[in-house]
């Protein structure tokens, strides 16, 4: 059915908290109603148009790109008639957005000046005189492309207003057109639309009053209804306008910045030359023939796909970082290439891992080159500012991340809008097991409502389900830059980010990919910071620079250490799950690390690929391949698919997918959470695999694996770069534990472990740690001449960095002799002294914290006006704190303690009756009943292990790994979730070197610590 109508004024939910339908829903509904075209005109935004465009391609509907602007109660709709018009529209949006804080815009009528190649629709407000003035002025300026927009929303006085405005158009000789100010694809969304309004206004729906819409008329209306309200002529005008709009988003072509290529040279030439430069550095003894050939092959491919500029852009950024001494490392499919190795984008040597390089970008796979570059996290900002400097803010912008409603936020906002009590909502949220996935937790929510839920609870359920996935605001992507040849704002509008000096574009990375626009990911990685700092410390000690390349490769001692799961602080493999895997996988070479990094991920785990792989590795199961093609794909992982790339390739060789289909599968995988459109590929995959003789069981596992990749995809091409950092950091930990720990402490916050845990681990490896000391510490932690690690002022909570800097600069070489002298010589703020005292950094001068504070107070400038009293030897009035108080202050003000572990104190006082120490568990036999106790350092409920909670306890000898099954957890929830000190009776389990305690009875013994203080006080 064809309707002679095009909706020209339609807002999606990308007009945040106004529109109540997704762009895809609007497109589908418009197509269903037989509209000729649909204009998506979100308020000062084009953030939703790419999604609409994709949906339009699917439905064969014409999309018009436009935007709505609000001026008081007047509205202006601007539609792009051509590529040039689109550029003008983007520029106008950018102007309005850049003037205002994040999420808002500021424009006035004076800004609406030329708007070349745009069509303008004006809807008057309530003041008729103003309407006449405005319509006349705009009508003259934009003659031939200006319409009066008549909208009948059936509010109070609707028919009268319609007649009045129609008369105005006739009187002024301005053409009129109709529209519906659409906010939803279907009237059934009225409830949600009201809720959105209430959320926007921050009041419950019943209190939103006249800020709500009076009825549900702002939807895509049927032909019949349109005809009745507007008549044929006004409707035909919409079609005429639609026909004048001839801009198609697909026309947008990315143009690379040209300045990277010297004048007179071609990009291909220039890239080849840079690669040759790199070759000379990388292969000083001459490039091996095989490598030479590979380079030629890669360059040819790059030329064919015209990706030269992309590689040059990244090379330029990386070169800047190298010049600044900022450590960086590229990853991604295109990064695993000899070209990238030569351009110093990666350090992965093709001679070591040749098998990775088959996976370089290919012409068949229509995927854009993918290179993410990680930089030291503390210095990434320098790189970002370089990009802004090099290309200007007009040409470089960060991609957006669309922040959408998830369970917690949906429940909170909808609940509040329905007038539910905040505490009640928090309670509800707490009751839900959030890892369970969308369908499951909606089910849980339903159960909480009981058999016959209250009407309001029913509403909550329905509306929460509807609002899930609704965008709330745009935030900056972690580091995805778009750099263009011309002004970026002619390609896509730019707006302000929350962070000062940052701007972002209105599209996210999926949108960019859909349009084939390239982005460069500039990411931050803490481990690079730590590695660079360790290398610097070692270089200092050795008296010559020490670089990553100088680290001996494939050192057996390193693999030995990792196989013992001795990996605290090591990149990527320090988590508890990885620590459990290490002794089972027992890595022996670099490629094993690549697998190690990728195997403890939702994909392989949900696909149940881990055990088969380990079995084959241990020789317990024969390695076999159903066909030679499959051997090609799975050979390097013993016939078990581990990597995302392998699954996609498998779809091609074993399930008959075409290259195009495989590419769609890849994209569906990435967007799985968003669209759920993966199901149809899964069906095809299963059918294809079955046809070719694979078991249904194997096919099902592959499907689950694909879903797992959707949760958190981690391709081989990324794992390969990460594995290198795993090796490097492991080598440093193995051979230079003091320097490594020192650098980790100096790079906080990063990684999986707290400074306290890092320090304890270093102590267990024989490193001497010395306390923060007014007379000995620097801001950073340092290595003392005898190799001991001296904690730095940076660990002192509440101490300003400048204060510490002054202290160090003005400290006499032999140190201060008294606190009074220190106070006289260095002027620090009261807080800074207090922080130092609290951290125990003054203990070497005053004996203990209480005395230090007592002395500091004597010179209290606020109380003793005029000169501070002459320093005299302070009488010791105060008793020293007991061991427990010292420990408490250590943890509170320093985050760690060099004193005894709290558990040692409790044990000594006999308060842990019968509990074994962590290091005693090694001597226990599997199945033995044991009791353990410790500080709870970690609680985890991974989505991949249904219902299990992993808890890590720490005592004076190390860590105890607990497994708490679902039933145990449910019955003892309070102790499990509330305890800081936990005592557990359970059964010891052992798998190789991995020891767990399966928890039986849990007791919260947090009170013991308090009891300890009471008891010890009684001794006085």
């Amino acid at each position: 059915m064809q309707t002679d109508y095009a909706e020209l004024h339609c807002l999606s939910n990308f007009s945040f908290l106004r529109g109540a339908s997704h762009p895809e829903e609007l497109v589908a509904r418009a197509a269903e109603l037989g509209y000729r075209a649909l204009a998506l005109t979100d308020e000062c935004s084009v953030a939703g148009v790419v999604r609409a465009w994709e949906a339009c391609r699917e439905h064969g509907l014409k999309l018009i790109v436009g935007a709505e602007f609000r001026f008081g109660d007047e509205r202006l709709v601007v539609l792009a008639a051509s590529r040039r018009g689109y550029a003008r529209l983007c520029a106008l949006i950018t102007l309005g957005r850049r003037r205002a804080e994040k999420g808002r815009y500021r424009l006035d009528w004076a800004d609406i000046d030329d708007l070349e190649d745009c069509l303008l629709l004006y809807r008057p407000g309530d003041d008729p005189a103003q309407a006449r003035r405005r319509a006349r002025a705009l009508g003259e300026r934009f003659a031939g492309r200006f319409w009066l927009l008549l909208e009948r929303l059936l509010g109070a006085g609707d028919a009268e207003r319609f007649a009045l405005q129609r008369g105005l158009a006739e009187e002024l000789g301005i053409p009129a057109v109709c529209g519906n100010a659409v906010l939803m694809h279907h009237p059934s969304r009225q409830r949600l639309q009201d809720v959105l309004t209430a959320i926007r206004c921050g009041v419950p729906v019943p209190d939103a009053g006249y800020r709500l819409e009076a009825n549900a008329e702002r939807h895509l209306r049927s032909q019949q209804k349109l005809q009745r309200l507007y008549g044929a002529e006004l409707m035909r005008e919409t079609v005429r306008i639609a026909e004048r709009c001839n801009f198609e988003l697909g026309e947008l072509r990315y143009e690379y910045p040209s300045e990277l290529v010297p004048p007179g040279r071609s990009a291909g030439d220039w890239l080849a030359e840079r690669v040759r430069d790199g070759e000379r550095r990388r292969f000083p003894d001459g490039t091996p023939e095989a490598v030479r050939k590979q380079i030629e092959h890669e360059l040819k491919l790059i030329a064919r796909l015209r990706y030269e500029h992309y590689f040059l852009t990244i090379e330029d950024i990386v070169r800047f970082a190298r010049d600044q001494g900022i450590l960086c490392q590229g990853r991604g499919s295109a990064a695993n290439s000899v070209v990238c190795y030569c351009l110093h984008i990666t350090e992965v040597d093709p001679r070591e891992v040749s098998l990775l390089f088959e996976r370089f970008i290919s012409a068949e796979r229509n995927e854009p080159p993918d290179i993410d570059v990680d930089f030291e996290h503390e210095r990434r900002e320098e790189v970002i500012q370089y990009i802004y400097r090099r290309y200007g803010r007009e040409r470089a912008g960060l991609a957006a991340t669309v922040i959408s409603y998830r369970l917690r936020s949906a429940l909170r906002d909808v609940g509040k809008a329905l007038g539910l009590d905040g505490a009640y909502l928090a309670w509800l949220t707490g009751k839900l097991d959030r890892r369970a996935g969308r369908a499951a937790w909606l089910e849980q929510l339903r159960e909480l409502g009981g058999e016959a839920p209250a009407p309001r609870f029913q509403l909550l359920l329905e509306l929460v389900e509807e609002i899930l996935g609704f965008p709330r605001h745009l935030s900056q992507h972690v580091g995805g830059f778009v750099i263009s040849a011309g002004p970026l704002s002619e390609l896509v509008p730019v707006e302000n980010a929350a962070m000062k000096d940052r701007s972002l574009i209105q599209w996210n990375k999926d949108d960019l990919e859909s349009l084939g626009l390239l982005k460069v990911d500039v990411l931050a990685l803490g481990m690079l910071t730590a590695v660079r700092k360790t290398l610097a410390l070692l270089g200092e000690r050795r008296g010559e620079p020490f670089r990553i390349q100088d680290i001996p490769r494939e050192d057996p001692a390193v693999y030995e250490m990792l196989s013992r799961a001795d990996s605290v602080g090591v990149f990527q493999v320090e988590s508890r799950a990885q620590m459990n895997m290490l002794p089972r996988l027992r890595p022996r070479c670099y490629y094993d690390l690549v697998i190690e990094v990728a195997i403890v991920r939702p994909g392989p785990i949900q696909g149940d690929m881990v055990h088969p792989y380990l079995k084959r590795r241990d020789g317990l199961e024969a390695v076999s391949y159903p066909s030679d093609e499959v051997r090609q794909v799975l050979g390097r992982t013993l016939g078990v698919p581990i990597f995302q790339e392998q699954v996609i390739k498998l779809a091609m060789v074993a399930a008959g997918f075409t290259a195009g289909e495989a590419d769609q599968l890849r994209r569906a995988m990435a967007a799985w959470r968003r669209s759920g459109s993966i199901a149809r590929y899964q069906q095809k995959l299963v059918a294809g695999l079955r046809e070719r003789g694979y078991s249904a069981e194997f096919a099902a596992r592959i499907c689950r694996q694909i879903e797992g990749f959707g949760e958190y995809g981690f391709p081989e091409s990324h794992a390969a770069s990460f594995a290198l950092l795993v090796y490097v950091s492991a080598w440093l930990k193995c051979h230079e534990p003091a320097a490594f720990c020192c650098s980790l402490l100096n790079s906080q916050p990063m990684g999986f472990y707290s400074p306290s845990q890092l320090v304890q681990d270093a102590q267990r490896h024989g490193v001497t740690i010395r306390p923060v000391d007014l007379n000995a510490s620097d801001w950073d932690c340092t290595l003392e001449p005898d190799g001991a690690l001296r904690l730095g002022f940076r660990l002192v909570k509440g101490l300003a960095r400048q204060a510490a800097g002054r202290l160090v600069a003005q400290r006499p070489a032999p140190g201060f002799v008294s606190l009074a002298e220190a106070q006289r010589s260095v002027r620090l703020a009261r807080n800074d002294w207090d922080a130092l005292a609290a951290a125990g950094a003054l203990n070497s001068l005053s004996g203990h914290r209480y005395q230090a504070r007592w002395e500091l107070l004597a010179a209290n400038p606020e109380l003793a006006l005029g000169e501070a009293r002459v320093a005299e030897p302070e009488a010791a009035w105060l008793d020293a704190p007991d061991e427990q108080s010292d420990l408490e202050e250590d943890y509170r003000h320093l985050g760690l303690s060099l004193g005894r572990h709290p558990l040692a104190l409790l044990r000594e006082r006999g308060m842990l009756g019968g509990c074994l120490r962590a290091d005693e568990l090694e001597h226990c036999r599997p199945g033995q009943l044991v009791r353990v106790a410790g500080v709870v350092t970690n609680r985890q409920r991974p989505g991949t292990a249904s219902g299990v909670t992993f808890v890590t306890l720490e005592d004076e000898s190390g860590q105890v790994n607990l497994i708490v099954w679902r039933d145990t957890a449910r019955l003892q929830r309070q102790a499990l979730l509330g305890a800081r000190l936990l005592k557990v009776a359970g059964v010891l389990e052992r798998e190789g070197a991995v020891i767990h305690v399966v928890a039986g009875r849990l007791s919260d013994i947090s009170d013991q610590w308090r009891a300890l203080s009471l008891r010890s006080r009684d001794f006085h």
Binding site: L154, A159, R191, D194, G209, A423, W877, S885
Partner: protein, 469 residues
């Protein structure tokens, strides 16, 4: 002469004044109604704690009864107790929010020692079902700190000093900054503070602290401000529950009578007649109970009330009590000295409030607009007090006279006898409550020229909703 002070700390006062002796788990909410402010022993035994979110408390104890706070009432509780304590001391000081300070040195002779006074005090509190921490001290501050720290009674000076020394310094109620300084110096108990030289302390921590310590030890005088009882007795007690049987009124009444007795004893008066008002939903029942010779003792009055209640039928459930006594006789004198105090002159506000009291609080109200598209909800009754809301009037033409119940119109009249002049105005709203509407409104002209406001429901039925003037 050394002073002797007695401090009463009522930790659960706002809850217990409203629990009417019930033994079920109870919790008093905070002002926002989101968290538990206080809970009784029965609730605490099942895990409810102050500060706990209501939802959590309810999930622990589903039958927990929740009391909403009445902050305006709370100062009166303490004043009531001050009246009651008149029997123990003529010098009583209010220590808001939850304490009373009694000077008792001068009373020991009357009570023949602290032991008897203490006995009587605890017996009385038990009868009134009020929990209290009680402590004696040589200074007001010492008594207060000891009471807050759980209570203490000792005559042996050595014991007294030792106990006082054990009190945590937090009890001093110093400002947070000073308190955290003390923590930082490891000064956790009063004895540690008292052992330090005063000058050193003052130099480091300021004179405020040492002054406080001096008040504690009595080096600095610390005279409290004494409570001045009113000229006439008037006690009120809102009930947390509706009471339907007269006998159930006796418990709360006992509290009021205990106050009265304290009031009378402090003045050496007897009351001749009591006016008791039983507050009810719509109107109040009043009754008076007299005693020809005048009486002081609460138990006697309670018995008289019980007798009076026997021939009383409650018209409606009782939600509050109000006890007045205006006629007194001096304890020592005869009948001829009877005097009474005339009620004060009426002000307009008093008139309104009395009208409200007589006619019920719902009988008087104002109208205010209310932002809701549904015409029947576009306005509401508002209480006399308080500001009118600033909600805008409904958009569009609205009739001056809105029918309470829309009147069904025969469909065939619409468009024929009734001419439609304006419309439609579509109102689809109110899905969130029990009265959603889907209507198209029109203005129509009746054959006699009247203009009415009518609407068509989604189903096609027509209704008249109002008349234009």
């Amino acid at each position: 002469m050394k002073g002797l002070w007695l401090y009463l700390h009522f930790p659960l006062l706002p809850l217990e004044m409203r629990s009417e002796g019930r033994r079920a788990p109870l919790a008093l909410l905070d002002e926002r109604g989101a968290r538990v402010r206080l809970c009784n022993v029965e609730a605490a035994e099942q895990g409810v704690q102050p500060q706990m979110a209501v939802a959590t408390a309810l999930s622990l104890v589903p039958e927990l009864e929740l009391l909403t706070p009445q902050p305006a009432q709370e100062p009166r509780y303490l004043e009531g107790l001050a009246l009651w304590s008149g029997r123990f001391s003529a010098r009583v000081s209010l220590q808001p929010p939850l304490g009373l300070l009694l000077e008792i040195a001068s009373m020991l002779r009357y009570f023949r020692g602290l032991e008897t006074l203490w006995q009587e005090l605890t017996t009385q509190l038990e009868q009134l079902q009020l929990s209290a921490c009680i402590a004696t001290g040589q200074t007001p501050l010492a008594a207060r700190l000891l009471a807050l720290d759980g209570g203490f009674r000792a005559c042996d000076p050595e014991q007294y000093r030792a106990r006082l020394g054990q009190v945590p310094t937090e009890r001093l109620g110093l400002d947070e900054r000073l308190q955290s300084r003390l923590r930082g110096l490891g000064l956790q108990r009063l004895e540690q503070l008292l052992a330090l030289p005063s000058a050193e302390l003052a130099h480091r921590l300021g004179p405020e602290l040492t002054a406080c310590l001096d008040r504690l030890t009595g080096r600095l005088p610390d005279p409290p401000r004494y409570f001045e009882p009113p000229e006439v007795f008037c006690g009120e007690l809102p009930l947390a529950y509706e009471v339907e049987q007269t006998l159930a009124l006796l418990f709360p009444l006992r509290r009021l009578l205990a106050q009265l007795e304290g009031f009378l004893r402090a003045r050496h008066w007897r009351a001749l007649e009591l006016q008791l008002e039983l507050t009810q939903q719509e109107r109040n029942q009043r009754l008076s109970v007299g005693h020809a010779a005048g009486e002081q003792c609460a138990e006697v009055w309670l018995e008289l009330c019980r007798l009076r209640f026997e021939r009383l039928t409650l018209e409606q459930p009782v939600i509050g009590l109000r006890l007045e006594a205006t006629q007194f006789r001096d304890l020592e004198r005869g009948r001829e000295d009877l005097f009474s105090i005339a009620p004060r002159e009426d002000t307009p506000a008093r008139l309104l409030s009395r009208l409200q009291t007589r006619l019920g609080s719902d009988a008087l109200c104002r109208l205010e607009p209310c932002a809701d598209y549904r015409p029947e909800r576009g306005w509401r009754r508002a209480p006399l007090q308080g500001r009118l809301s600033s909600a805008a009037l409904q958009p569009g033409a609205r009739p001056g006279w809105l029918l309470e119940i829309p009147q069904r119109l025969p469909s065939r009249q619409v468009g024929s006898a009734i001419e439609l002049l304006q419309g439609p105005e579509r109102i689809v709203s109110g899905w969130w409550d029990s009265a959603p509407v889907r209507r198209d409104y029109y203005i129509g002209r009746w054959p006699d020229g009247r203009r009415g406001w009518l609407y068509r429901e989604a189903g096609g039925d027509w209704y008249l909703h109002g008349w234009f003037g």
